[in-house]
Symmetry: C2
Subunit: 882 residues, 2 copies
């Protein structure tokens, strides 16, 4: 770039200059550079735009001169004159760095006026054509540059058609168009209190200013906010010689993808219309033809186009989205850009291109957007389906399901046993609802966040769940639910999409997940290059099996509390909690132990050869007790009735305990190792169950080296907590080893989920053999955001209003949480060089977070099984970037 | 110290060697060194103790030899023989570095056996005396060394007295004592399956071992845990020649303080008994005489003792606690140590000693324990009073009060109007109870922690409060409250002490606070040396006035929400919260504005010339709404009755809102600047109220430079939050300045209470002019401790079991929270060199925390008004240490 240069002829640009010339301009220049037939033109840079917006004084003289110089060059090149006898007509288009709706799009045929329209008529030998171009120009220019309402022009056209009693504009004749043109100019005069500009230079400068100004229209600003595009980029302006697809049957226009954007099939895909301009294709009055038919209409052009498409794909090494025009038997390329595609197509195209030798495996991995692949992994509601949308909640567990609404877990179970598909719809769920959750296709709750009981259990079971749907109110008495003032009966069929949080009425079209061979191939390439290991968060043998299938190299988080939640266990767990002394509690724990043991057996069996990190009990005990409000009303009722005093007494005792255990801020309460310290018998039972399971598998012939237990102590903040809990594990283990006459290898480590733990990580690493960062809770404590509350309260507001740009629960907050993780790694390794480091928060399945975790040197990430493919790809991408 | 030297004669020690010789031993050596009459002896070091405990093999030969060498020296020095004809008798005493109950105390008369008792009898010319010494020795030795129960010996003595029909042991004659001695030896034989050791060397070694072993008795371990004394210190053993106060009327024993330990008066204070040993004084059978009477009994000894006391005070430059014995007209000093004293005495002694030129002001400030002074600032229940103690809760607001128990705020108000003293006793309080709190002498709640509504409001009003008293259950229906199974009627008089959390039955003796001239003088000296400024947390004009009286140099935290809590305001606040749109909300805010304004007027007036930091609204809005459970029952009742549908509708709406606003973890919820961002109209109203108050004061003639408003934005975690809130303040202010035609000076800063804020402090300091560390919340988030929950759940267990050593809400956690504060200071100053830094958490009134805050360079600490004197002293102490 020359200093002070604000205008570039196509010949001076190339595809590397996107930030200066915008995406469209850079690609036009590139096509010209590699010898493709592009109508000549030039580009006014994004810097000119920023200058213009900063000055706020209109186009300045030097810029105008530079534009005019380039215009003169263009006149020379094409042998035409702007405003002269062989009139140069141009298109003026905006061209941002990233394609952006909401900005001024296009003015075509600029340079026409009452004089040049006659020259054009003479030259084309077609006055109707010239008049049609003129009226289109007036309409577009007046609309996008002078802000005259589009409908006003349409009214005039409609009137003309009605007068003639015809259906389409193409049926209007020269005289009609003469009249319409005059009416258009009158309209502009009335609406703008001025004449439509006759001077082509004035037209051009006004159009350029309009493009610049469109950068700051409300819609453009909103779009940039939503898509996190910096306001400082600015837009370029593309000025290009007009070519016409509507000059007869030897002319035409079309669009094409170099491969099928839905399936990825390696075959040209597109459509065209003869004797038409681009806007005619869009208008939908005539049906465009499939591109393959062009071969019959214009065989040479078709061959040329095929060659060009191949050349573009080879050149860009990427599937292209192309616009072209044929003017009197000559092909012109008007645009090329990377084509958008569905997830299955993205995978197939990538794998095919590697097969074709077009790109390398590494390039594929760098290019693919792992997040896009989520849709390959879960059933989802067709994104095109919007008309039956009724409400939105939180996307608590991915997947989609339809079923009859049921308010009650017992009823859900009963109906499911009769092969009815049901959705369990509740204000919130509690452990008492487990059998209903199991029976239902999916869960919808009106309260609760991403970490509510419903959400956690549903994710654990791989069932779709929409939680915290505040639009929904349930009236149990009347058997109704209300959404936005409208009542629906229990039993109404609805559909939910747990990936998006959307709720629909009735059964809606669903798209099934596709786990293709190409996808598997892609993942295997990812596995070859990634440094980060990938583990799964899995709490059951079934999850473990799925995890291994999806490529897990271990379990990074096995939450033992989920084993407590099963319907047959909850009563025992409650007995344990309500125990009035240690003896009673130990008796209940004795009952639980074989249940836990059998879960562990299943999990360790599935994970043979891989490490399994078992987290000892974490949630506060009140999570296992009944809902306080319901209990309160029940006690109140029993008291009023005064009927069954022993039942009342029992319920009163339960309410007392629920109250006693209830916490103001359970997130910061009596949970994690704080339970293990105050009730060591619980953790001891869990440790015994783990080792009993291991011994059982050994007895059954499992080779010892295939068992790699890692016992994880949650919520540690002080060295002493970790030291005592490690001691408890060791004493319990040694005791069992003595009994069995055999020692097993195991590790004891901690979950890092408190800021304090990060700050004293050097002390913790003295006693912990591994750290697993629980970034969910670490985010809650570091930012002071209760996940359950913030996602239903201020966080959406924060994101919408750009107070923060990224949801810290979706992508790790690098400046806060990330900084603490870095501090912890540094300090932890200072006292234990071979400290094993992983992360088991939900960020473990988020691509941007994985990139960060790779860069700071973690050993592995752990995520829910269905996110494993995404994690594997993200880890590969991160390795290649690093 | 010589390498390998484990025994030190007094002549080789001095007071600087406490850690090696123990406190008692070092002081004995020191007294000997400065020429005071001390019975000769030697000390076995703490290192010997640690060696012994580490080896676990008994006393080793080298140590025994060293002891015997020193014993021989002692024999030479006093001209006596251990076990020989002119028998050397010794006392063996433990002597830890810090005086510690629970360890072996003393064995007297060691060296006596069936032979030497006769030598002693001959030498003293008094066989009864010798026999009495002997039976005392057997009893003490057998008890503390051989673990024979004390009561077994007492039984024999009682039997003997009964046989003779006498009241005291001194009435027993030689024959009685002969028999008793024999019975004692028999008893030992039976209880220990062995003979009482006759060999004095064996006696000595056994006694030394017993002292060493007593370091690890259960009681000693528990005491060390409770008092945070390291287990590694070990104890020394003091071996000293016996002197006898019971050799006739020219002998005696006594204790003395060099000044009055209760009042601090500079006058010798103590008591003595003639012809007695120390244990006789303790036994309380004979009443000791005031020391002044010794002047009549033994004028020369008295003068000598006075001189020694003066010498000791001059030498130690501190009030001394002394033990002495007179043996046949010769005075011996047995112990000296720093005397314990009451808080008023401590202040008076310190100030007097400065007046006497004994110590410097700086020394006084370094020596005083600021925490001890708390009792000078609040009324408290006499610590001696224990017999009417019935329950304990959390010490939620200091001070003490008595009154009739009332369960209902209305009734409390009514009774108070009839001049009855009441205590409001509730499960929890809500804003609806405010008039009851105002009317009551104090508040007692069965639920809720240190930051519960009751606690916060009570502290704000300076009223005593005990919260979270879980032993207490209230039965509203029966009009009873139950404590530990015992029922009490409403109306029962009880007393509470909010400094200790204790609850008593009836009216109990109280000690009024004493704010003496000496105390004021001490504080003025502190002000001269401290670097840290001291501010108060004050929310009302009354608090502000008190703060200035107690030395505040500004308000560090003015919580505007307390202004919302008043009975006349709560309805308006609720109207604001329940507003269905912005217009309704703004109308309610309009009503609130003049109320807030008048508070601000009062506060700024009181604080003329000092900065006032006003924190904009912080707590989640649901804190201002009624209790959810009560409302639920009410709605349920109305529904069942089906009577008044408009009332039901209103209550249902309220319940819906309460539910909608309710949060799982309010601590991490929609509060602080998150309110200000989502409801900017609330903060705007508050800012307007501040500036209107300032303009009003200006109009009334207040000089402008006396107004120093600092507007504080709470709970900031991201730069953008601070930037937007600052903008809101600025726009609101500029608007008002424009209206008034005058600009005022003000600052906008932030409260740092989230880990993230510390980590991005450099970014925050770009927009914030000051940081005030809210270490309460920073502790909650950094450690993941909900204050309300942890203090009633795991924290007491953690402290008792030494999992953590310090309550992080009482003293700042240096390794976690402290580290974050340091990070924040460093980063904050990196972008704003003159950043004003303070702390306004409750740690601002804690001496150890103040020392830390001084060391890391804060500008000021802010605490509740009543802690200001403590903060001033602590700041001075910190400055002197720094």
């Amino acid at each position: 770039m020359k200093a002070g240069q604000y205008v570039y002829p196509f010949a001076q640009g190339d595809k590397s200059m996107k930030s200066l010339l915008g995406g469209k301009g850079a690609n036009l220049a590139e096509m010209a550079r590699i010898g493709l037939p592009v109508p000549p033109g030039f580009i006014i840079t994004t810097e000119a735009c920023n200058q213009y917006l900063g000055r706020n004084e209109g186009l300045w003289p030097e810029l105008k001169s530079e534009i005019l110089e380039n215009l003169q060059q263009l006149e020379l090149e094409v042998g035409r004159s702007f405003g002269g006898e062989r009139p140069l007509l141009i298109s003026v288009r905006s061209g941002a760095v990233v394609s952006m709706p909401g900005m001024m799009d296009t003015v075509l045929n600029l340079g026409l006026n009452q004089t040049t329209v006659n020259y054009l008529a003479d030259e084309a030998g077609n006055r109707r054509f010239a008049l049609d171009c003129y009226r289109r120009f007036i309409q577009m220019f007046a609309n996008v540059v002078l802000q005259v309402g589009h409908h006003l022009f349409e009214n005039i056209l409609t009137e003309a058609r009605q007068r003639k009693n015809v259906r389409t504009d193409s049926e209007l004749n020269e005289a009609d168009l003469e009249k319409i043109t005059a009416q258009f100019l009158d309209l502009v005069r009335r609406e703008t209190d001025g004449e439509f500009p006759e001077d082509p230079q004035e037209q051009l400068f006004l159009a350029v200013e309009a493009v610049f100004n469109s950068w700051n229209t409300n819609r453009a600003v909103v779009y940039r906010k939503a898509n996190r595009i910096p306001d400082t980029l600015g837009t370029a302006v593309n000025i290009q010689t007009m070519v016409f697809g509507n000059l007869g049957e030897d002319s035409g226009t079309g669009v094409a993808f170099t491969r099928n954007p839905s399936t990825g099939e390696a075959k040209l895909y597109g459509e065209y219309l003869l004797n038409a301009q681009g806007e005619d294709v869009v208008a939908g009055i005539r049906n465009p033809h499939p591109l393959s038919e062009l071969k019959g209409d214009m065989p040479e052009i078709y061959d040329q186009f095929l060659q060009i498409c191949n050349k573009l794909e080879e050149h860009y090494r990427e599937m292209q989205d192309i616009e072209f025009t044929i003017e009197k038997g000559k092909l012109y390329m008007l645009q090329t850009r990377t084509g958008k595609r569905t997830a299955p197509a993205a995978v197939r195209i990538a794998v095919d291109m590697v097969g074709e030798g077009l790109i390398s495996r590494k390039e594929v991995l760098q290019r693919i957007e792992p997040d896009q692949l989520e849709q390959l992994l879960h059933r989802r509601i067709d994104p095109e389906c919007n008309d039956r949308y009724i409400a939105r909640g939180l996307p608590a567990s991915p997947g989609a399901a339809s079923g009859k609404v049921v308010f009650d877990a017992d009823k859900a179970q009963e109906m499911a046993q009769n092969d009815e598909k049901v959705l369990l719809v509740r204000p919130e769920t509690t452990p008492d609802d487990i059998h209903g959750i199991i029976a239902a296709q999916g869960i919808l709750t009106s309260r609760g966040g991403m970490t509510s009981h419903a959400a956690v259990v549903a994710r654990g079971m791989g069932k779709p769940c929409v939680s915290g749907c505040e639009d929904l109110q349930i009236d149990f008495v009347k058997g109704l639910f209300t959404i936005k003032g409208k009542d629906y009966k229990e039993g109404t069929v609805i559909s939910i999409d747990g990936t998006t949080g959307r709720v629909f009425l009735g059964v809606v079209p669903m798209i099934e997940p596709e786990f293709t061979d190409e996808f598997r191939k892609l993942l295997s390439w990812a596995d070859e290059v990634r440094r980060l290991k990938v583990r799964a968060n899995a709490d059951t043998p079934e999850d473990a099996r799925l995890a291994v299938e999806l490529g897990a190299q271990g379990i990074g988080l096995c939450r033992t509390e989920h084993m407590f939640m099963a319907a047959d266990r909850i009563p025992v767990v409650q007995k344990m909690i309500l125990a009035s002394d240690l003896k009673e509690r130990e008796a209940a724990l004795c009952e639980l132990q074989p249940m836990q043991q059998s879960d562990f057996e299943g999990i360790f069996k599935e994970m043979a050869g891989y490490p399994v990190t078992v987290r000892l009990l974490d949630p506060p005990l009140h999570e296992f007790l009944p809902d306080r409000e319901e209990l309160l009303l029940e006690v109140d009722k029993l008291r009023r009735e005064g009927s069954d005093s022993s039942l009342l007494h029992e319920k009163e005792k339960l309410l007392h305990k629920v109250r006693l255990l209830s916490e103001y801020n359970p997130m910061l309460g009596h949970r994690g190792c704080r339970l293990g310290l105050v009730y060591p018998e619980i953790y001891k039972m869990q440790v015994r169950a783990i080792f009993l399971a291991l011994f059982k598998l050994l007895d059954e012939g499992m080779p010892e080296e295939k068992l790699q237990p890692e016992i994880m102590i949650p919520l540690v903040g002080h060295r002493e907590e970790m030291a005592r809990m490690k001691k408890l594990v060791e004493i319990t283990a040694e005791d069992m080893f003595a009994g069995k006459g055999k020692k097993l290898t195991y590790m004891v480590g901690t979950m890092i989920e408190l800021p304090r733990a990060c700050l004293v990580a050097d002390q913790l690493a003295e006693v912990a053999s591994f750290f697993s960062f629980g970034t969910n809770d670490l985010t809650q404590t570091t930012l002071g955001y209760s996940r359950d509350d913030s996602e239903s309260k201020f966080l959406p507001y924060y994101l919408q209003n750009k107070i923060i740009l990224i949801n810290p629960f979706a992508e790790v907050d690098r400046e806060g949480v990330g900084k603490l993780v870095e501090i912890a790694i540094k300090r932890g390794r200072s006292t234990r060089a071979n400290l094993k480091l992983g992360i088991c928060g939900e960020h473990g399945g988020n691509p941007a977070s994985i990139e960060f975790f790779n860069s700071i040197g973690l050993d592995y990430v752990s995520c829910s099984p269905y996110r494993l493919p995404i994690a594997r790809l993200s880890a590969a991408k991160a390795a290649l970037q690093g």
